[in-house]
Amino acid sequence: MTLRVLYFARLRERFGLAEESLAFAGATAADLVAALQARGGVWAEELAAGRAFRVAVNQDIVALDAALPDHAEVAIFPPVTGG
């Protein structure tokens, strides 16, 4: 499937990337995170188990076991700090 993946705030800066289009063979948010970790470097570091980040699918925050629909807009970002 094809995904649009967005990064925000500290993760956007660390990855040097705000957005990408991704051909993806997995099923869940956890599979996507694993695929991104496999890139190594800052990706492995920031998305390591135990690091705090959030995943949103089509603009709703989801748990890592959430299924990803084709053409989903997936966003990965640090815990929010507005307000």
């Binding site: 967005l6 705030a9 307000g83």
Partner: protein, 151 residues
């Protein structure tokens, strides 16, 4: 119901007056304004920049308000959150809730703020004498939001 995400400043008095305009059924308006401070985590803050996730932000705020409406009998809600670069003393966020009685207005206003702090996709970057830094999420904010699921 009014939700705005904007770079411009807002005015508390104008927003609350707009809620009240022409109505005689509102008994209580609880409101909150969050402001940029000159100090955080022990160091001076010269300015901050608020980043957000366009699209999701409005959706997340609407969801918070829907949840508040489901929990309490509310007559109107306004939420305004600023983005972009702000200086100490600048207002960041406004939540105003109108209801017949004060208990509902206070509870919903605090609920919306607590959930906004943990659910709405905004991030703050501060300018300090030691350079720029992203504000870290606080455990106390998670605890504040969790109170509402225990009750």
């Amino acid at each position: 119901m009014k939700i705005l995400v904007q770079a411009d400043a807002f005015d508390l008095g104008t927003e609350v007056d707009a809620m009240r305009q022409g109505r005689t059924d509102i008994g209580a308006v609880a409101s909150f304004v969050g402001l940029a401070r000159d100090m955080n985590e022990g160091s001076g803050v010269a300015a901050m920049t608020l980043e957000h996730y366009p699209g999701m932000t409005e959706k997340a705020l609407a969801k918070l308000i829907d949840e508040a409406n489901a929990r309490w009998a509310l007559l109107d809600v306004t939420v305004i959150h600023r983005i972009g670069r702000l200086l100490p003393g600048d207002p960041i966020v406004l939540v105003a809730v109108a209801a017949s009685h004060r208990g509902e207005a206070f509870a919903a206003c605090e609920f919306i703020m607590d959930y906004l702090k943990t659910q709405a996709p905004f991030w703050k970057k501060e300018e300090t004498p030691q350079g720029e830094r992203w504000v870290e999420a606080r455990a106390s904010d998670d605890a504040a939001a969790a109170r509402w699921t225990d009750s």
